[in-house]
Symmetry: C2
Subunit: 332 residues, 2 copies
């Protein structure tokens, strides 16, 4: 089952069921007004949504409309237009290793057993075609391509298996980062506030069964293709070199607190040890250039630049739809 | 105007208007179903809520009920039972100085001009009488008494004056902290995830005009009394020794992103340079003992321990109602 949200009328949007091919969608109002409401009442609502999905797939939803048109017209919100928690892990230690190597530092041994994770803002998730709006290009604007789980209620102290059972949906995220603001902010010791912007989700979120055999052990075994201004930045495989699975990351986040339905838990920037796969963020490309060529050459994003983040299945079909964003100057 | 929320029927609770004396309350359903909804539509709803408040004060609300009874019966939720963002500053550098001194470290010069702030979880705010539930006493359970602003929509890059105009409500928070988990987590460099638990808000949140002259320059000029097991831990004045006001802290949080209606911005643990005022968290008492007496003596909270956090006005009346919580063992 693939779910999305239209923008409006409220801030939580209007829940849509989307067909497998991402071509048709229908409002799911009869089952649930919003995705947040569905997540809070999943046991009652899931079957109804699956009925709508089956009927849509069979061409029997009279009020179905063209999903790609709605997307192109900017009418599609993030599947979850706002969420109560955004907890982002660092599952791909290749990414962390490259960051550390560039500053002649090592990755602490504990990072291989105890996930690095931060809490970010989630009250304003961008739709997949919404612009990245910033006040200044000098912030060092960067994308981060990641996989993210949307959970139901997770009990405090959940085991890995319990965490696995709480995953309701999976999608992609662009975790927008302001690289030039981060070093000074992290030096203060309390994590990110100014160093991260609003994030975008892919057009649809889907139940893990949609991923078939490519969903295994809490990892999506598919390549995440990231482009900047139409050129390939990388296509690392999200199933490769992940020290921690989404199961591990959710269990870590829930160690000392309950996570409530609609919590987003991310994998961190996808990164493979094999450099030929490229990168899912500009910083990593820059760090490798710095170490290997003496200086970073890949620029951060500037006004007018575009990013595209997408995952395709073995047949080449887009799994979640593409995140396609343009950097624009923010106006109050 | 003083606002609160009853628990249920949904996770955002039911909005209440409470009288100035905190004795009577009435459902505000006619004006807005929930506080979150009111915050999103403040320009339309504020006047209606103020009408209800005036009518309640005059004894003309037929369906008014005893607010203290509802509170004692555990029916009162946090005024905002869940929020999209919880951004907690460190306005009282005395607190930071004591932390650093205990580890023979200095406060970086930049901390006096650039606020220290972290992002925490807000999807599950405890009501003022809800228990603090933890899996283990070994976590080093501590209270942190703070003042918190609840904002409307704040534009990215808001000035201090713009930030000031976005404050809708003010209340108190108990920012529950797990002291023995924090050093290892902060050493990882990404802030708090496991080191902080769910937080509690005071029974009511109020519009700043309710504070009269004690609301000045984005600070509440009243003492915050904190008790543990019925004994005074401290009563530092929130208007004293605050390097940053709530205006500064909101502007800092909004530097690179919009804050959406219902965002919580906290002052950090209230702390005065004058040690005779005591402390608003156990850790600070322990750090001073460590420096002055060679060892920390004040214990962290254990199962069965109680905390009480309250602010009284010049006439001795409780301004927000008291946060009164007991530490209990969490059961799934």
């Amino acid at each position: 089952m693939k779910l999305a949200s239209l923008k409006g009328p409220g801030r939580d949007g209007t829940l849509l069921v989307v067909n497998a091919g991402l071509t048709r969608a229908v409002r799911a109002e009869g089952a649930s007004p919003t995705l947040q409401h569905a997540l809070e009442n999943w046991d009652q609502i899931e079957a109804k949504l699956r009925d709508v999905a089956a009927s849509l797939e069979q061409g029997q939803e009279r009020h179905a409309f063209d999903f790609q048109d709605a997307l192109a017209q900017g009418k599609v919100a993030a599947p979850l237009p706002r969420a109560y928690e955004w907890l982002d892990g660092s599952a791909y230690l290749t990414h962390v290793e490259r960051v550390r190597r560039a500053r002649n530092d090592k990755v602490p041994e504990s990072f291989y057993t105890d996930p690095l994770m931060y809490q970010g803002g989630a009250g304003d998730m961008m739709g997949a075609r919404d612009p990245i709006r910033v006040l200044s290009e000098d912030w060092g604007v960067d994308l981060e391509g990641e996989v993210v789980a949307i959970t139901g209620d997770v009990p405090m102290g959940a085991t890995k298996d319990e965490a696995a059972a709480c995953i309701r949906l999976v999608t992609l995220v662009n975790d927008v980062s302001f690289r030039r603001l981060i070093p000074a902010e992290l030096a203060k010791g309390f994590g990110f506030v100014n160093g991260k912007g609003a994030n975008a989700l892919a057009p649809v979120a889907l139940t893990p069964d949609e991923l078939g055999a490519t969903w295994k052990d809490g990892k999506v075994h598919l390549k995440l293709r990231c482009d900047v201004n139409g050129e390939r930045l990388g296509d690392p495989n999200a199933g490769v070199d992940a020290t921690f699975s989404l199961f591990d990351l959710i269990a870590h986040a829930a160690k000392t607190r309950e996570l409530k339905a609609g919590t987003l838990v991310g994998t961190g920037t996808i990164s493979n040890a094999d450099k030929s796969t490229g990168y899912a963020c500009l910083m990593e490309a820059r760090l490798v250039e710095q170490v290997e060529e003496g200086a970073a050459k890949t620029p951060f994003l500037r006004f007018g630049d575009t990013v595209r983040i997408e995952m395709r299945d073995a047949k080449g079909a887009s799994v979640f739809g593409a995140i396609e964003q343009r950097v624009e100057r923010y106006a109050k």
